[in-house]
């Protein structure tokens, strides 16, 4: 009886200790997220509150010259630059990634698992500075020579991001396709569908939400990528008029100027506002992923 009670007490204590540890970690994480958001927001909003720059000017003006006596911080070229470079990159890497996921899972499992899967895993592990360096050494001179222009261009940024987002899209959509139950394939074949018909009319619609999640994840990654893109796009603070012209993105302007501006100056505040904008955009992406994932789940 006493032994039983002792055992019971010890178990309760352990239970309690476990609970405390788990809850503290969870709370710490929540505090971290909240304080991070608070910090970026308080810094980012001071452009509008303290420096009295209108939100309209920040979002819609194209003049970026925070180093002048009367600073102008129109961020439109960077916002558009980020959108152009990521959306176009996803337009290439999306179809490519989903196709190779289908090839890997549905068409040639052997080749997929032995060669494609490890290759993609290696791709994921390559640091972005390596992509940037390769882009600067190979891609930029190549574009300059064969397509005209300087080489430093929107096109170079798109191509680098295409390669960088491809493994994310491929592996996430491959997981989505793989998790579909075998029965739906069997049912489709039993009805006399060919493999192509099965893929086209059964597999892709069933895995739609997973594939969309993969694409949004890829887009989020493209939007947040700083270094590799910054190295190849030329960083000219204007809206590009063609694929061969240099441009800037939100992340590239932040990385270039953050270390050299002084806290509290309009310039520094404007960079924080850009960081806040980036944070809000990534929140939006996360919400989209959640919505897509909830709605289209295959049951």
């Amino acid at each position: 009886m006493t032994i039983d009670r002792k055992y019971e007490m010890a178990r309760k204590r352990q239970d309690m200790a476990g609970k405390v540890i788990v809850f503290t970690s969870a709370i710490l994480l929540i505090i971290l997220v909240i304080s991070l958001f608070y910090f970026v927001a308080s810094k980012g909003l001071s452009t509008f509150v303290k420096d009295r720059i209108s939100l309209k000017e920040f979002l819609l003006s194209t003049v970026w010259s925070p180093d002048r006596d009367i600073p102008a911080v129109g961020a439109l070229p960077f916002i558009l630059g980020s959108i152009f470079v990521s959306v176009f990159a996803i337009m290439i890497s999306g179809p490519l990634g989903v196709s190779s996921a289908i090839f890997m899972v549905e068409i040639s499992k052997k080749l997929g698992q032995k060669i494609l899967q490890p290759a993609i895993e290696i791709f994921v592990g390559i640091p972005s500075v390596v992509y940037g360096w390769l882009g600067l050494s190979v891609l930029v001179p190549f574009i300059g020579k064969h397509f005209g222009g300087l080489g430093f261009s929107l096109l170079a940024g798109i191509l680098v991001l295409t390669i960088m987002t491809l493994p994310t899209i491929t592996s996430v959509s491959a997981d989505a396709i793989r998790s579909l139950p075998i029965e739906i394939r069997e049912a489709s074949y039993a009805l006399g569908a060919t493999r192509w018909q099965t893929i086209r009319h059964v597999i892709i619609p069933a895995a739609k939400s997973g594939i969309l999640t993969a694409i949004v994840l890829g887009l989020a990654r493209a939007f947040g990528e700083a270094l590799a893109v910054q190295m190849v796009i030329g960083n000219r603070p204007v809206i590009p008029k063609s694929f061969l012209e240099p441009m800037s993105t939100i992340t590239s302007i932040i990385t270039m100027d953050m270390g050299n501006t002084v806290m509290g100056s309009v310039w520094n505040d404007a960079l924080w506002s850009l960081a806040l904008l980036l944070l809000l955009i990534s929140f939006t992406f996360i919400i989209i992923i959640r919505l897509v994932g909830r709605r289209g789940m295959y049951k």
Partner: protein
């Protein structure tokens, strides 16, 4: 019952914790007089910590000097970080670090009151050369020609005696100390034409871009100039350390190490060491800087 109580406790803890976090965020950093340096003792052997951050251009020199200094005084620990001139100045003004490295004068970045609280220690000079792609046959540019190029009046090399090639300007970011020096000395403060130039983040990237881009022109610290790019004469004067020492070549700037108030103890000892012959006569020329003495 238990669940309910637990939930209440969690909410209270969460509120308290976020309150403290916010309070900590909101309040200004304490202005400690001597943040991480403990002063030396009287027996003549130095000890203590020195934290240095700022300019990435000056970083290699200070790192090497710190290494030598720590070999001499084994009880001293010096940490040298980059972060950029703006970071160095901000943090030293806040008292977060002992020494802030900067490529430019504090008055140009900070507001006048904050700048007044800092003491400037000029430890070296750094020279800059105008560099162009190797295919450009031009050897010399005058100040007026450079102004015309960077403000967008001249856009082809043939207008300054070169081949018929479009001029491609490659800048450092507007916040960079190198660009500030170039703008001050060569452009005499005139604004560059907006949206004309490419921008590269670091001196290494500028060098590569100039080497690879047809018709490119930029400016680089002398320590970065090598045979992949072509350094031009400015007003007929070669960009060499000797010409700067002799006062013939004007494109150079001071490298600054700022302290908050007059330095004391081990911080002062290290700054004195930066001015010693060992650093000024050996280390500084070896790393491509120009001694101040």
């Amino acid at each position: 019952m238990l669940n309910n109580r637990l939930a209440k406790i969690i909410i209270v803890v969460l509120l308290l914790a976020s309150f403290f976090t916010f309070a900590a965020c909101g309040s200004k950093q304490p202005q400690s007089q001597n943040p991480s340096s403990s002063s030396s003792n009287t027996s003549g052997t130095l000890s203590g910590n020195v934290t240095i951050a700022g300019s990435t251009a000056l970083q290699p020199l200070v790192e090497q000097a710190a290494k030598l200094f720590m070999e001499k005084y084994s009880n001293v620990s010096i940490t040298v970080q980059g972060g950029g001139s703006g970071t160095g100045l901000t943090q030293v003004a806040q008292g977060a670090i002992d020494i802030g490295n900067s490529d430019i004068f504090a008055e140009e970045k900070l507001d006048a009151n904050t700048a007044k609280s800092l003491v400037d220690h000029q430890v070296a000079k750094v020279g800059f050369a105008v560099v162009v792609n190797k295919d450009i046959t031009v050897d010399n540019l005058t100040q007026q020609q450079l102004v015309d190029i960077f403000t967008g009046k001249i856009t082809n090399w043939k207008d300054v005696g070169g081949p018929d090639t479009k001029i491609v300007i490659i800048n450092r970011p507007a916040s960079s100390g190198t660009r500030a020096t170039f703008k001050k000395v060569v452009l005499k403060g005139q604004e560059e034409a907006a949206g004309l130039a490419l921008t590269e983040d670091s001196s290494g990237a500028v060098k590569k871009a100039v080497a690879d881009t047809k018709g490119a022109i930029s400016y680089l610290a002398l320590s970065y100039v090598d045979n992949t790019v072509k350094a031009l004469k400015y007003e007929g004067v070669e960009p060499t350390a000797q010409n700067i020492i002799d006062g013939k070549y004007p494109i150079w700037s001071y490298e600054h190490m700022y302290t908050k108030g007059e330095p004391t103890g081990v911080v002062k000892a290290f700054l004195d060491f930066m001015m010693s012959d060992e650093v000024q006569k050996n280390l500084i020329p070896k790393l491509g800087f120009i001694p101040i003495k």
